[in-house]
């Protein structure tokens, strides 16, 4: 009976001299995997405008109803994006919008440090959604 107690003590003592498995988070960061689902980001065309064609599929498929797409019709009758709004307060980072997008205009970026002191900065418009600092969307399949 006391042998089991001693075995336990021996194990914890052995662990004492093992290196820790934790990461000193703000100083060290884990590499973000390729498929990581961070903050959604819009992909830009070569001219800097969003690739989005304002079809509204992402808005439709979003289970948390966090995307609003407003389309406008240009002078030549072409449909284009007027306003894109994504509310991170509601977003569940499920990635269904990426799956639904027929032109690969939205991706999940590697950005995950999204804490904010108020709600307003978490409602993103197309300008902020285009800027995915650490990982440009174009590289993503």
């Amino acid at each position: 009976m006391s042998k089991a107690l001693l075995k336990g003590l021996a194990l914890t003592l052995k662990t004492f001299f093992r290196p820790p498995v934790t990461l000193e988070y703000p100083d060290e960061k884990r590499p973000v995997p390729d498929r990581f689902r961070g903050r959604p980001a819009l992909v830009a065309r070569a001219d800097g405008a969003p690739r989005c064609v304002a079809c509204g599929l992402c808005e439709k498929i979003c289970p948390s109803l966090c995307i609003t797409v407003v389309a406008e019709t240009g002078p030549e009758g072409t449909r284009s994006l007027a306003r894109y709004r994504l509310d991170l307060n509601r977003c569940s980072f499920c990635g269904l919008c990426v799956e639904a997008c027929p032109v690969e205009a939205i991706v999940m970026s590697g950005e995950y440090e999204l804490a904010s002191g108020s709600r307003e900065p978490l409602v993103l418009d197309e300008g902020r959604l285009l800027a995915a600092p650490d990982r440009p969307g174009e590289e993503r399949p």
Binding site: T15, D34, R35, R37, I61, C94, G95, E99, P102, M108
Partner: protein
């Protein structure tokens, strides 16, 4: 001397009620005379929400039921829809699903082990168990992009093919895992304090378990070898070799042993699944509920039309009712689905094993000590998100 009983609110904010369970205890000294569980603090109306979501969107909701075993929930749900649509899923997808479900079972049991041991005052197993759980979370993250809520399974297959590192990382994990379980056992299995805290505590015999509808490790610890992976095999489970661990006494200690041995078996299954992984498609491409490949959308107008239709109107399974259950880490997790042929289910009912298993709580704690209540709640292994839905 005239003495009164003390009614004590255990929860909803309490370190050992595993979330927001509230148990109103009637105490005589430290002896529990009566207990009344009060649930619903985490009710988010997921079943109701599902009535206004397409079948595709509901996958994301199922992640939030039992968040410690999201992939098991994904699996149970997609299997139910597939049964309703009578859909054949490629073998590769089924093998990956089985591997993921087993890894998820290990992850869930590891978290149970750590918190349960911590409830009984042993701090260290928590950290050892979480070390291995982190490795599993990394596997899920590499595969699906998310650690806790992978939403990786789709009706008809998977969300994506497995990545090249998956097989290797699962092999690495299963290679070292048995030794890690030995470590947890060193700290607990033979420890006289652990045994005295768990043996003979919270006993439910086989008859009581069956009458209450209890399933999963709790039922098996009472000696009933009922496991849906054996009795109603799904996802190619009939092609793997594994055993169903059972206990005898049906007490907290036997539940501990059953879950420990289940982890070992699950590692074996996951290993068999990745070793025998068939080549081939990872999704039932071309079948009605599956999105066309992104490549096709660029030049195939029929694919584009089908894609738009699937997103805008959703998949429309034929009218009917269907129930399908899987063996989740906590027991029989079933989805009951009623369809009228429209894009949204008319009714989605979840049979949550945590909720049913929790019904045994009052029987188990009556007449025991306050400290046993904590041990028993831990051994039921509830996830309140699943109890309250």
């Amino acid at each position: 001397m005239n003495t009164d009983t003390l009614s004590l609110n255990l929860g909803p904010q309490h370190p050992s009620t595993h979330g927001v369970l509230r148990v109103v205890l009637e105490l005589d000294g430290e002896t529990v005379i009566d207990a009344r569980p009060d649930i619903g603090f985490l009710h988010r109306g997921i079943e109701k929400l599902a009535e206004h979501r397409t079948y595709h969107q509901i996958i994301v909701l199922t992640d939030r039921l039992d968040y410690l075993a999201a992939l098991s929930n994904n699996l149970a749900y997609v299997l139910t829809v597939e049964k309703l649509m009578d859909l054949e899923v490629p073998r590769r997808a089924r093998y990956v699903r089985a591997a993921l479900a087993e890894l998820q079972r290990i992850a869930s049991h590891l978290f149970w082990l750590g918190t349960h041991a911590h409830d009984l005052g042993a701090m260290t197993p928590l950290f050892y168990a979480l070390r291995e759980r982190e490795a599993l979370m990394d596997i899920f993250e590499n595969l699906s992009g998310s650690r806790l809520t992978p939403s990786f399974l789709r009706v008809g297959g998977l969300a994506a093919d497995i990545d090249e590192r998956f097989v290797e990382s699962v092999r690495n994990f299963t290679d070292t895992f048995q030794g890690r379980v030995d470590e947890y056992e060193t700290l607990l299995t033979q420890n006289p304090i652990w045994r005295s805290r768990t043996k003979g505590v919270g006993v439910l015999d086989a008859g009581q378990c069956i009458r209450l509808g209890i399933s999963g490790p709790m039922l098996r610890s009472a000696g009933v070898p009922l496991d849906l992976r054996k009795t109603q095999p799904y996802s190619c489970y009939d092609e793997f070799h594994f055993e169903i661990p059972t206990g005898k006494a049906g007490d907290v200690y036997d539940r501990y042993l059953v879950r420990i041995r289940e982890m070992r078996e699950s590692a074996r299954i996951a290993r068999q699944a990745v070793d025998g992984l068939p080549e081939g498609p990872w999704t039932a491409a071309g079948s009605p509920p599956v999105f066309p490949a992104k490549e096709d959308l660029k030049h195939n107008i029929t694919a584009v039309i089908r894609h738009f239709g699937l997103v805008m109107e959703g998949m429309k399974p034929p009218p009917g009712e269907v129930y399908h259950a899987v063996e989740s880490p906590r027991g029989e997790l079933g989805f009951y689905l009623v369809s009228d042929g429209g894009p949204y289910p008319v009714r989605l009912k979840v049979r949550p094993p945590s909720f049913v298993n929790l019904q045994g709580l009052v029987k188990m704690v009556r007449g025991r000590l306050l400290a046993d209540v904590v041990a028993v709640i831990g051994a039921v292994d509830i996830v309140l998100a699943e109890v309250d839905r």
